[in-house]
């Protein structure tokens, strides 16, 4: 832009720095708006714009979700003075709540973006509250005002009612059409406070994101809370307890641009020749290695994996290939973890932990994209806690780890607070959905004449199975939901086992509420009966809790299977058919002499909810 002097970067006083993020529901236009800001401040020339620059990964583009936070420094002249506006992008999904909270800590303000047609959604509410909790200055923005069916007045009311927004504060814009962008930039500069922080104090830099570069190793994203850091400094990653030398530091403009130093209040990156992202923990504090008195910043939490599932190569030969692929993924994403496990039914595989269900889907999709291994996935389960008699607390990541019921004092499961935003006509069906899943109503308020916010506390296990799909189907796509973990609660949980011809299939065990066990047991054995082909002998499929069988189905023996006609022309055809059957059989998992197709291992997800 006019007269922007690269040398001036780094000399901009703290009073002219603004650190902010954009919080929005999926699809409300965050990425487009960010692109427009980059373009309007001259950070990126129009012809260089790839659409939606900040969503760099293909996968994110594909899903329309910003998965990983990114940061970019914009430089803008305002009233004759050069300002540095650091936009910290936040992931828009609940699985990455902790990452969002760390990003928010790095900002003084937030743009609260709401679609002029869609209005306030569940995620908007969750993120807005979160930003308010972090004492951020909120700039409410209504986006897509150029849409024909925009309902700006109603959306204004919703924002006022639910979020306590002053209608006069709302900036109305269209990222797509470029309307109201200058006003928005002015609002950022004039309303969001400059960062505070002592350049002269001890270095405290918050790690809010990272990514792995094949040539440079870990790129660490930091916001300096106090002090300053220069190239060549010896630094310590406080929680990880590892020391490194800063080889390069700089800002994203949006490509990496090295600078000599970063100061309190600024946002940038560090390159320290770190070979694995395992040492770069979100929320960690970077300090000077020789500073023995400095305290780490508050709010650090190790990544908490809430969802686990087993991943097995369908061909046992691919085990080491799968291990290599998982290792590669975990280098890029330390919040994903995996450990080898064996299953009698599935052989050698891995227990994998994810932040949530979306995170699990993303990792699986990457696995599929990046390596050619046919996978068998076991039904996902949440992380349970068991207090044994005697007080020992176990974290349970798979049903097989559940001890005998006699040893269990308390069996706890994670509970989440789920916020639904939906048209009022669907309140009844959504309440039924939640009550069927043992939800406890926590709130029900009208956002406007036609839309409501309903809150329930629900077991996470119920949420991950199918709640989102069910919500979409009962509300014809209009309902949205968001949830946060609120803690663990004791519950009447049991491990339900599945037996095939009397033999327990470990990979089919699930943990469920005792009151649901009969229904689920029946549903699962029924589903398995459909999935298991008839054999030359009868196959009994049973669900059991401990030694008590609660449901049984029988796959009858094949009675007649013989081709009537087999003459000249049939021989090749038959041989090919039978050879194909043989291939199919090889890919099935054999329990005793019963062949179980891979699809059956997801059958335990059938909750039987439709047959209540």
């Amino acid at each position: 832009m006019n007269g922007k002097d690269p040398k001036s970067i780094g000399e901009i006083p703290l009073s002219r720095i603004r650190n902010f993020c954009i919080i929005a529901h999926i699809d409300h236009g965050k990425s487009t708006l960010a692109d427009r800001l980059l373009e309007r401040t001259g950070t990126v020339e129009i012809r260089r714009m790839k659409e939606q620059l900040l969503d760099a990964m293909d996968l994110e583009r594909e899903r329309g979700i910003t998965i990983k936070a990114k940061a970019v420094s914009l430089h803008h002249w305002h009233n004759g003075e050069l300002y540095e506006l650091n936009l910290i992008d936040t992931p828009g999904h609940v699985d990455f709540q902790y990452e969002v909270s760390r990003s928010l800590t790095c900002c003084e303000g937030a743009l609260l973006l709401v679609d002029a047609f869609q209005g306030v959604e569940a995620q908007t509410v969750a993120n807005a509250y979160s930003a308010m909790d972090h004492n951020l200055k909120i700039i409410p923005v209504i986006n897509k005002i150029d849409l024909n069916h925009a309902r700006v007045d109603e959306v204004t009311t919703e924002m006022e009612q639910v979020l306590g927004i002053d209608p006069d504060d709302i900036v109305k814009c269209s990222g797509k059409a470029g309307i109201g962008i200058d006003e928005l930039i002015t609002a950022i500069i004039e309303r969001i406070p400059a960062p505070s922080g002592e350049t002269s104090g001890s270095l405290q830099a918050m790690v809010f994101d990272s990514h792995y570069d094949d040539y440079r190793g870990a790129i660490t994203y930091v916001r300096l809370m106090s002090g300053e850091v220069k190239r060549g400094d010896k630094v310590r990653f406080y929680r990880a307890g590892v020391n490194y030398e800063v080889l390069e530091l700089g800002q994203f403009v949006p490509e990496r641009k090295p600078v000599d130093k970063l100061r309190a209040g600024e946002v940038g990156y560090l390159i320290c020749n770190i070979k694995s992202l395992k040492d770069v923990r979100i929320g960690d504090t970077v300090v000077h290695a020789n500073d023995t008195t400095v305290e780490p910043l508050e709010g650090y939490q190790p990544p908490k994996r809430m969802v686990y599932c087993g991943l097995y190569p369908s061909d046992g030969q691919d085990f080491s290939e799968l291990r290599d692929a998982l290792e590669k993924l975990s280098i890029n994403d330390p919040s994903f973890e995996f450990a080898p496990e064996t299953s009698e039914a599935l052989g050698f595989g891995f227990r994998c932990g994810f932040l949530g269900l979306l995170h699990m889907e993303i990792i699986q999709q990457r696995l599929e994209n990046e390596c050619d291994i046919d996978l068998v996935q076991t039904a996902p389960n949440v992380t349970y806690e068991i207090v044994k008699r005697g007080g020992e607390v176990l974290e349970i990541h798979r049903p097989q780890e559940v001890p005998d019921s006699g040893e269990i004092e308390e069996f706890r499961q994670p509970i989440v607070r789920v916020n639904f935003v939906l048209p009022t006509e669907f309140i009844g069906v959504v309440m039924k959905l939640c009550q069927d899943r043992r939800g406890i109503l926590r709130g029900n308020e009208y956002l406007s004449g036609t839309r409501a916010l309903v809150s329930y506390d629900l077991p996470l296990a119920e949420v991950i199975y199918d709640l989102h799909d069910k919500l979409k189907s009962v509300t014809r796509g209009y309902g949205t939901m968001d949830y946060e973990i609120i803690g663990y609660e004791n519950a009447d949980l049991v491990r339900m086992d599945i037996l095939v011809n009397g033999k327990r299939v470990d990979a089919l065990s699930v943990i469920c509420d005792r009151r649901d066990s009969d229904r689920r047991g029946r549903a699962v054995v029924k589903k398995l009966k459909e999935e298991i082909d008839r054999h030359m002998f009868e196959v009994a499929v049973q669900a059991a809790i401990g030694a008590r069988v609660i449901a049984r189905e029988t796959v009858p023996a094949m009675r007649k299977n013989v081709t009537a006609k087999c003459y000249g022309g049939d021989i090749t055809r038959k041989r090919k058919l039978w050879a194909k059957q043989r291939e199919g059989k090889k890919r099935m998992k054999s329990i005793g002499s019963v062949d179980i197709p891979q699809k059956a291992f997801m059958a335990v997800l059938d909750t039987g909810a439709d047959n209540k």
């Binding site: 030359m536 007649k560 299977n561 006609k565 000249g568 022309g569 021989i571 090749t572 039978w578 059989k585």
Partner: protein
């Protein structure tokens, strides 16, 4: 005359290594109409194509380069009997030239009951045909209607009677498990057939084939197939009733009076080689399996333009040949002479088959009688579930 086509080579013929096939199949792809259960390669109501077809067939046969004597010849379809006398004469003359029947040979024709008359029978017999396979399917009027057959029970009776008076050997095809069929209807069909003086019977459980109209009607639930237990009951009734009336159950679907088994079909199950001609015809020559295009018009177009009508060709390895020979040989009730084969079978194939045989004997699905391995009755009815384990 040598053509550029050189189909003989495509078919797998090899002067040095191959003993010539002594069986031949010829497919005549015409019917008056298509029955709902049929997905065979045929054209209904296309008399206009008969002559053109015979010319195409002549071209294909001429690829034999010289007459190749055979011991069995099978005219199938379709309905070969549909050809009017002059064209039939032309066809049979063509075959007598290229595929002369050795002395004592078996020459079968598939025939619709409506085509079986004294005059046609005499014509066929005079030109060398000595065995007739009648597409009768049932003696029950309602069942015939359900199967969309174009003849009545009386017409079938008269056809059998006429055939018996002229031909050495008369066979009848019967279908069981037609929609709505009861075990009683089927039993009556069996008894009727037994008393018709036939010396060969083929019984086929109705199958629903992709490409047949019944397939879609079943999917749309217009047709409700007979349940599996009833179909099994009918199959076992056929075995028991026919066996107790002098018919030997010699192949899964075939029954014959002593020495009346179809020699041609046995060649398939024994793993012998055979020639084949006509659309969709499949042959096995010199360890090579090849199949012609199943569209009659495309088959003709190719031959008329000097192109090969073969669309699939597969050269079997020695291992595959033995595995096939075992599996298809086991369709014969007497089983296969496994003990005497062993020394010829490559060691790895021998071991894996031996292991499976032991396992299946253990389950009671097979047993050994002298040097033969054969299916038990228990194994017979589910035998298709066994074969995938013998193939590679």
């Amino acid at each position: 005359m040598h053509s550029d086509l050189n189909l003989l080579k495509t078919w797998g013929w090899n002067h040095h290594h191959t003993s010539p096939p002594i069986a031949a199949y010829v497919h005549i792809p015409f019917c008056r109409h298509r029955c709902g259960y049929c997905n065979f390669s045929l054209l209904a109501n296309r008399d206009d194509l008969f002559e053109r077809f015979l010319n195409g067939l002549a071209t294909e046969l001429s690829e034999l380069q010289e007459p190749r004597p055979v011991q069995t010849l099978f005219l199938g379809g379709g309905t070969p009997s549909i050809l009017p006398p002059p064209l039939m004469q032309q066809l049979l003359a063509l075959l007598r030239h290229w595929l002369p029947l050795s002395k004592g040979g078996e020459w079968s024709i598939e025939a619709n009951p409506l085509d079986i008359r004294a005059d046609s029978l005499h014509l066929w017999k005079d030109l060398g045909i000595n065995r007739i396979s009648i597409g009768g399917q049932s003696f029950d009027p309602a069942k015939l209607k359900r199967l969309e057959r174009d003849h009545s029970p009386d017409e079938l009776d008269r056809a059998i009677e006429a055939a018996r008076s002229v031909m050495d050997s008369v066979s009848l095809d019967l279908i069981f498990a037609a929609p709505d069929e009861t075990p009683e209807i089927w039993h009556n069909d069996l008894v009727h057939a037994i008393h018709s003086g036939l010396n060969h019977l083929s019984t086929y459980g109705l199958t629903y084939e992709k490409g047949a109209r019944f397939w879609g009607e079943r999917a749309r639930q217009i047709i409700k197939p007979v349940d599996e237990d009833t179909e099994l009951e009918m199959y076992l009734d056929a075995i028991d009733t026919l066996s107790s009336h002098g018919f030997e159950h010699y192949e899964i679907s075939n029954f014959a009076k002593p020495d009346q088994a179809c020699r041609h079909n046995q060649a398939y199950w024994r793993g012998d080689s055979w020639w084949a001609f006509g659309p969709s015809a499949a042959r096995y020559v010199g360890g090579v399996r090849s199949v012609n295009h199943r569209g009659t018009l495309e088959y003709l177009r190719r031959l008329e333009t000097g192109c090969s009508p073969v669309i699939e060709r597969e050269e079997l390895t020695l291992d595959q040949q033995w595995r096939e020979r075992f599996v298809f040989g086991m369709r014969q009730l007497r089983g296969v002479p496994w003990q005497s084969w062993q020394s010829h079978v490559p060691a790895n194939v021998r071991e894996s088959i031996n292991q499976k045989i032991a396992e299946h004997i253990e389950h009671g699905w097979m047993h050994e009688i002298e040097d033969h391995v054969r299916l038990t009755r228990k194994g017979l009815v589910v035998s298709d579930s066994l074969w995938s384990e013998y193939l590679d």
